[in-house]
Each structure stands twice: as C-alpha cells, then as structure tokens.
C-alpha cells in the first residue's frame, strides 16, 4: 500500500499536465474495474456497476505548481503560481520542470521588512545565460516542487502527499472492494487546484444520489496555531462547512453514523478555506447531495506536507463503510 502511495507521490502532476499520473492510476485501476475512461480534459472515471443508488467518489490528481512566464537575458526564469501556493512557501524551494531540469526559487534583493511578492522572485537553473536557458525551458512550461517522499514509522513527508494519498485511498478501495450494492463511480479529476475545473466536466451527465469528495484539511496542531481543532492522528475529518458550501445534516449525519458504527475515529471540520472541487461537484447537474471527507495534513501546498498512515487507513475504512451500506436505505 505504502509503496503505491510513494510511487504516486514521486510523480509530478501540475494542473494541466496530469497525464503521467493519470496513466499510472488507470493502470492500477483497470484490473479491478468494470470500466475505465478518460475524457477530453484528462479526467479519469472508473466504474464499478451495481443495482443500487449512484455514488460518486472524487479526488483530484493535480498539484499546485509554477508556470514559467519569461526567460531573461541572463538565463533567470520569471514565473507565477498555478494554484494557491503562497510566495513565502515558494521561496527557497527546489523545483523540477517536466523535462527533469532542476532549479531553485530565489528572490531579488529588496527591503527585508516586506514579504517577497512573486514579481520579485525568479528560478535559477544555473544556466550560463539566456541562450542556454532557452534550450532547457520554454515560456509556458511548468515546474513542480522537487521533493522526494519519505516514510518513517507511519509518518510520511513529501510534496502533494495529501492529494496523492487520496488517489491511493480510492485505488485501495477499488482493490479491496466490499461487495457494494451501490453503483459506484470513482472520479480522478484534473485542474482541481484551479477552483475545481476538471470536476465541472467530469461530473457532467452523472447524477449521483450522493457524491463524496476527498480533500486534504489543514491541521492546527503545530506551534503558533490554536491547537484546539484539527490534528494529525485523530482520524479523517468530516466536513461541516467550507467557505463556499454547507454540508447537509443528512449527509453529515450519515457519515458520522458510519464512523460510530464501524468504530472509526473522526474529527469534524468547520473551515474558512475555499471548497474547490467540492463546490463544483455540489453544483453539478443543478445540485448534488454532497459530503466531504478530509485527510488531515500539515503544511499543505508547501514543498513538504506531512500525513500519517494511521489517518489514511482510517479514511479508507470510513470510505469502505460508506460504500458497503445501501444508500437507498439511508435516505438517498
């Protein structure tokens, strides 16, 4: 299980270039699915048919990254974020272009009292000049955090771990599928970091009785945070409310009941963060009943995120529990 997760984590998939990761997931999914399709945008849909109610499980494949906007005469690259990486988290990061070329993000000298804005940052490839840089990269190319994922005693550290762990969770569910009476579609979406764009297209024509979107949620269990709410090792988080959506008490209640009955630890999440894919999925087909399950993660959208296998396994158990119940009997 961990091996697959690490493999996914070490594959780059910036928003818009999820192909390699998509192929990897599709390859793992095919032997266990009734149907595997990709659409125009690159969303991957995996189907496990069933006679019961339609259930959609979704997570995104992409990670936030950087787009090269200019190659200057000396070979330094100007860039901007694709997805919500704060400039503070970008500074000093090692990045990798899709060609494999590696560079580092630095800043122009400026008044140390002000926070560096993206306009004052650049990527240094160590190129000997503009001409050499132009052979290595083009305007429009994308660069990801170049961190290697590592595991130590059930704690994982690496880039884009939360989203990759969610993809791995869906694959794991597929592999050890509990005979589900529900008609299940797993959607691995693209461009999720860009306000859930892929999910708009992926959900077209699907009218699930219930959709469950998998997300990462920021914990507040490190120095300087209030320390009273979301934390690692307390289990998956069931969303109550995000910036753009309200989860209906019917859905929230159902998920909490599954967790209690199956003795799975969980936390409740009330967030001010934007809902990304969740909002898009909720608006699909003129309104879909939606639940959001989150994997607690520290330092999301930075070069090194931290998650635990314990939380991940509990998330999978909870998904398992949701899948194995007949939705029609639960009010859906």
């Amino acid at each position: 299980m961990t091996e697959l997760l690490m493999k996914l984590a070490n594959t780059d998939a910036p928003s818009g270039l999820e192909g390699k990761l998509c192929d990897l997931i599709a390859y793992e999914a095919k032997p266990h699915a009734d149907e595997v399709t990709t659409d125009l945008m690159g969303n991957l849909l995996v189907r496990k048919r069933g006679p019961g109610a339609k259930l959609l499980l979704a997570c995104r494949m992409d990670e936030p990254a950087f787009c090269i906007t200019h190659i200057d005469r000396k070979g330094f690259l100007r860039f901007g974020p694709v997805g919500a990486i704060s400039s503070g988290n970008a500074l000093g990061a090692r990045v990798r272009l899709s060609s494999g070329v590696v560079g580092v993000i630095r800043e122009e000298k400026h008044d140390p009292k002000t926070e560096t804005a993206y306009e004052q940052m650049f990527i240094d490839l160590g190129a000997k000049g503009g001409k050499e840089a132009e052979c290595l990269v083009k305007v429009g190319d994308l660069a990801c955090f170049a961190s290697e994922a590592r595991e130590r005693k059930g704690v994982l550290i690496g880039k884009a771990l939360a989203t990759r762990a969610l993809c791995a969770a869906l694959l794991q569910i597929l592999k050890s599928f509990p005979g589900s009476v529900n008609d299940v579609t797993l959607a691995f979406t693209v461009q999720g970091e860009l306000s859930g764009r892929g999910a708009v297209v992926a959900t077209w024509g699907l009218t699930p009785a219930l959709a469950v979107v998998l997300e990462g949620c920021d914990t507040e269990d490190f120095p300087g945070t209030k320390g009273a709410s979301l934390a690692l090792l307390k289990g998956p988080a069931i969303l109550v409310k995000d910036k753009e959506i309200m989860i209906s008490p019917l859905v929230r209640g159902f998920m909490m009941a599954v967790a209690l009955e199956d003795k799975i630890p969980y936390q409740l999440e009330v967030s001010e963060a934007p809902a990304l894919d969740a909002r898009t999925v909720q608006n699909a087909s003129g309104g879909t009943l939606l639940g959001v399950l989150s994997l607690p993660v520290r330092y999301r959208r930075t070069p090194y995120e931290i998650i635990t296998l314990n939380d991940w396994e509990n998330l999978i158990q909870l998904l398992h529990g949701i899948l194995s119940r007949d939705l029609r009997q639960k009010g859906f």
Binding site: L40, T69, H70, D72, K74, E119, V139, G140, Q191, V201
Partner: protein
C-alpha cells in the same frame, strides 16, 4: 480586406455597449452579420448566437468575441445635478479623471470633473489617487430635476472617444477590447467556411465572463476559440521581465491565463496554421487575464479551447491603440485556424 476590417472596426468601436447594456452594439453587429448567417438569435443574457452552414458539421466549432466594454453605471443623482457612478469592469481609477463620457440612451455628453491643480497643490492633493466613489459626472445640469429630464439612475456611461485612423499604420478608438474580436468574427462570417460555424457575440465578459457561461451551455462546443484584444506591454521598462505582448509582432496566442489552461493540441494546430501561412505570431505572458474561453471550455462535457488575440496598447482606458498590420494578421490566422480545425482528425 484591410478597408473592410477598418470600416467594421470603426462602426463597432464607436457603438456604445457597456457590460449589462450592450443593446446598441448588439444591433450594430447583428445588422451587419444578418445577411451572411443562417440563424441569428439573442438569448436571456443578450448574447447574439449566430450559425452559418458549411459543408462539414464536425467538429462542433464555436468562435466567440465579447460585445461589452468597460464603462460606468449611474447610481445616484445629487440634488445639485451631478451624477454619482460605479465602475463597470476593471478600470483603473487613475485613468478616468478628467475624461469625457456619453451618458444614457440619449448619449448625453458629460465629463468626469476634478478640482483644479491650483486649488489642491498646496495640500498635495495631486499626490493622492482619486477613487471612483468620490468622483462625479457633470452633464451641465442645474439641479436634480434638470438632470432627470436627460438621464436616469441606472443609465450607463461610456468613454466618448471617436475612432480614428492615425494615418501612420495605427488606429485609435475605445473598446478595442473586444470590438477587435467582434470585427474579426463578423468578417469571418462573410466568408465561405469549410464547416458549420457557431459565432457567439457575448455580453458581460468584463464583469465575470457571464454571457459566456450560458452561451457555452447552449452551444455546447467541442472546439472553441475566443477572439480578443489583449494588452501590449511595450512601454519603457527597465527590468528584464515579460512584456505580456508586443505591438507589431502579430496575433497573440495563449498557453494559459487566469481563466483557462488552453488545450495543447489545439494550440499546436494554431501554431502550425500560422507557420504554414507565414503569419507572424507571439505568445502572451502566461497567467494574465481571462477570456470567454475560460467559461466555455467547461461547458457540459468540455471543449478544447484557445485564444487568438490582437495586441493593443491601453485597453480598459479611454483610448486604445492598435497596429493595422496586427489586425490583418490576426484575421488571417483566425481564418487559417478554422481551415486547420476543419481538416484535422480530432481524437474523441
């Protein structure tokens, strides 16, 4: 060709059509294209959706250009007869001070007034940015009642700029973003095309790509091109950073902007068409701005989308400047693109 392009551009540029009030420009465009299309409809948002038949019906191709321009909305009439307003669309507060406008359906001339430098110099008032909510429009009315004979709260106001050929290869006018796109699209509809084409002249692009949202659902494109006017950043700049786009280097193509990651296969097709026809082209600096393609590429089951734009200086200001040669080359590329799209075997 050049003459026809400029003639249409002049008519479209001079027409009034601030976002949310595109009636006049809609009528100007509709009457021009009507004889050349097979179906012409207006939808709930005021979008004009026209279809022109062709020998092929696949892929389902939609081209769009937006009719609306940035401008102002009259929100209040003071007892004194001066008008208060809100900005419509992304206008920099700093370009509106002391500019002439046309207000309301009767095109009443007015000016955005400002306290003269002589009176503010001492207290350095000229060093502060004047915000739109503190400014007013003067139509010369005596009082509120006098003003109400000519204008109403809820009327729209646009810059009063008249289109002009400067005689040096450049033309100037207001609303070149996106009357340029409308001109290209209208003239393309006058040609014989290799496939069925749906043309969307959209509304409310400047206030959130709103017309495109519903036009996309209705037309359900498989391939979609937005024809735009985009800003050229070729002014004096010390730093070695991107210019966004440059006048004279031809039509501007986009990898990705704030609203969309362009389809790579479609972009490749556009590049190939340009090279085949020997048309110069340039790339826009990524991650800037948004277009109708941003909305329409997510319609229903999704569309391959891209943008072809004419570079122009000072868009979203009262007077924009564009090089005629760029307009002509963008037209040539748009036409070649349609052919290339029709000829290509698109993977489903």
């Amino acid at each position: 060709m050049t003459h026809r392009l400029l003639e249409a551009l002049e008519a479209f540029s001079n027409a009034l059509g601030v976002s949310g009030n595109e009636g006049e420009v809609r009528e100007t465009i509709a009457s021009r294209i009507r004889p050349h299309v097979d179906v012409l409809e207006t939808d709930a948002l005021g979008n004009v959706i026209a279809t022109k038949k062709g020998p092929k019906d696949s892929p389902r191709l939609v081209l769009s250009a937006h009719m609306d321009e940035v401008g102002f909305l009259i929100t209040h009439i003071e007892k004194s007869g001066f008008l208060r307003f809100a900005k419509v669309g992304g206008i920099d507060d700093r370009v509106i001070l002391a500019k002439p406008l046309l207000v309301g359906p009767k095109r009443i001339p007015g000016v955005i007034g400002t306290k003269p430098i002589h009176l503010i110099f001492q207290k350095e008032g000229h060093k502060k940015v004047a915000k739109a909510e503190d400014l007013y429009i003067d139509i010369g009315a005596k009082d509120r009642e006098d003003a109400r004979r000519l204008v109403e709260v809820g009327d729209f106001a646009a810059f009063a700029t008249r289109f002009q050929d400067l005689g040096n290869g450049f033309v100037k006018g207001k609303a070149l973003d996106d009357r340029l796109g409308c001109t290209l699209l209208a003239l393309l509809l006058e040609e014989d095309l290799p496939l069925i084409l749906t043309a969307v002249f959209s509304t409310q692009e400047e206030v959130g790509l709103r017309g495109a949202a519903v036009a996309g659902f209705r037309t359900s494109p498989q391939i979609m091109l937005a024809l735009e006017g985009t800003f050229a950043g070729d002014f004096p700049e010390e730093r070695d950073v991107s210019r966004a786009a440059v006048i004279g280097r031809g039509p501007v193509l986009t990898h990705q902007d704030r609203s969309m990651i362009g389809d790579p296969l479609l972009l490749e097709t556009l590049i190939a068409a340009a090279e085949k026809e020997g048309i110069p082209y340039q790339f826009k600096r990524p991650l800037l701005g948004g277009t109708d393609a941003g909305r329409m590429h997510l319609s229903r089951s999704g569309a391959r989308a891209s943008v072809i734009a004419v570079p122009a200086r000072y868009i979203h200001a009262p007077v924009a400047l564009v090089k005629i040669e760029d307009v002509v080359n963008t037209y040539r590329l748009a036409k070649a693109a349609i052919q290339a799209i029709a000829d290509k075997d698109w993977p489903s």
